[in-house]
Symmetry: C3
């Protein structure tokens, strides 16, 4: 475990409109605001279609909604986001996985993103997992 103690934080409140891309909008926020490290603190809304990579799958699956967004969490960095989502359908049944581009807002999304001051996230390919994994710098590690 790497544990890094942060300092101050700044909330951003987003409202997304019908037809907007959920992941693409969060990537745009990072770019436009120059965020170095942030996380999704809360999200409520709906999708008309979702692109989700299921556990250990090689690529995303496109699933047709409408879906309620019942969970969105993860980290945002200039090297890309890492977001997992949980969705529920017309029968209340839930599915979930890794959020891809191409997940499109149905009615709305109300999202709170918290930017971490004095912290910088980056991503580097990790041979053990095959993915670009999170690196955290800024404050000295509280534990490494």
């Amino acid at each position: 475990m790497i544990a890094v103690k942060g300092g101050g934080s700044t909330p951003f409140i987003l409202r997304l409109m019908p037809g907007e891309d959920l992941r693409g909008s969060l990537e745009a926020l990072v770019r436009e605001q120059g965020l170095q490290a942030a996380y999704v603190a809360s999200c409520v809304g709906s999708l008309k279609v979702a692109a989700i990579r299921f556990a250990d799958a090689p690529a995303a699956t496109k699933v047709e909604g409408p879906f309620e967004i019942v969970g969105l969490s993860g980290t945002l960095s200039r090297d890309g986001p890492h977001l997992h989502i949980a969705l529920s359908d017309r029968d209340g049944k839930t599915i979930g996985g890794h959020l891809g581009l191409g997940s499109i807002i149905h009615t709305t999304a109300e999202i709170v993103v918290v930017a971490l001051e004095d912290i910088e996230f980056s991503r580097k390919k990790d041979e053990r997992t095959g993915y670009s994994e999170l690196l955290v710098s800024g404050f000295p590690p509280a534990r490494e």
Copy 2:
């Protein structure tokens, strides 16, 4: 996308008791503390019965628990909350959707609500979606 940058924030920690209404308790907090904008940051607990509106459904469905609360997120305003919940049952199976009044605590709920200073949430009927959608005011928009 509308993106508004916030300022400071204040956490409230709630513990709900058996028999209390989950949504009603959050509405009471907003009223009693005079909160102008807040979000649910974390929630753990259980429900004995839940009232959930599934995706695109006209009204809430009453579902019998006991359920573990495995996700609760959304925004709180004086014009009402917008909350989505994920629940798991005795077999671990999960369901989810839009949280209605009439969702009753089984053993406990431990909730962290974060109030956003200098921000004001309101809700206004949006003809495109048919729902009262979130408006955010306070700081000048970081992007609109």
Copy 3:
């Protein structure tokens, strides 16, 4: 409902490695940093195996992954954590419940824990529920 208004807060960013115990790592953070009250604000990652206590079950069930972590929330105290998790499998199907020890990281976990200053969490056996329930002290209650 008990509602307690907090003061400042400090984020900790964790990255867990393959083979580490999810709940055990959070317990270690509390111990090593001397945290008196904290909550999980965001978590993204994967598990190879999970130990989950389903709703009203007497003990945890061991379930084999790989799973994506699509939700983790709850509180951390020196008297132990109270964490609920939602997981999705290779087909996107989700399960959830109370997180036990023995839930092992598959590729990674990126977690934001927020420590609450001026607040102290403790747990005390509650005869009504049979569990050790959360007590919150520090600031005078905003409502009790």
